[in-house]
Symmetry: C2
Subunit: 141 residues, 2 copies
């Protein structure tokens, strides 16, 4: 019955590896970001069209820079202007460095040449911000 | 070498079970929701205080109703009003039924008696909405 002990141990190890895999994917490193920016009314159709077929190089760079689960929402608010709200999760160790890497990517730069003129930054934002970072007031896992 | 074949098969099965576990946690059932509502300026402090110590019964009901990864963000927009933006993921099979279940929960009802007077619904919203559902224009996994 020696082989049975070994089998049991190997199965246990494999399951443990599976659990660690789950843990590493949902690890404590995740930082959430909510941001807002304006969208020009005359650019709504073009902005949607661009994002319905986002360039593969742009998506690749997002992944490489440790951004995941990234959504952008659109709504018209009480001043009748349109706003975009983004939510994403950052799983890397150096957000500033990853964002600098993204900003240095030629394809991403070309993409922003298309998207920037569609947007207008909001009045209340920190110095140097394009998308304004919002304050998280609640989180439930 | 018969036991080796069995061991290999058992290890493969265990790993497969691990992968299916991952798949079921991140399964194709996830629906994302982005919503917006106004927050009265004189209620900001109280709203933050409430959410810094959300009642356990409220959090429990959120989980029971298949809502996960739920964030709320706050920002002042160009009309100088404050707005709340929420992002959450729904993992159940019947969103309407789960929301009805949440609305019928006495603790959640008491919680909403505290939070509703802090909020004001936005002008552009569908009939019957409190939080207005926003349009998703981009998603990157």
């Amino acid at each position: 019955m020696h082989w049975l002990k070994w089998t049991a141990m190997l199965v246990a190890l494999a399951l443990l590896a599976g659990c660690q895999h789950v843990a590493s994917r949902q690890g404590p490193q995740v930082q959430r970001f909510g941001s807002v920016i304006g969208l020009r009314e005359d650019k709504i159709a073009y902005y949607k069209e661009l994002h319905a077929n986002t360039w593969p190089g742009v998506l690749e760079m997002i992944k490489k820079c440790n951004i995941r689960n990234y959504s952008i929402y659109l709504h018209q608010l009480d001043d009748d202007k349109y706003y975009l709200f983004s939510y994403f999760e950052y799983t890397g160790n150096d957000f500033e460095a990853d964002m600098a890497r993204m900003a240095a990517d030629p394809i991403t730069q070309k993409w922003w040449q298309e998207t920037d003129p569609c947007q207008f930054p909001v009045k209340h934002r920190a110095e140097g911000e394009w998308w304004a970072n919002m304050e998280e007031v609640f989180y439930c896992r």
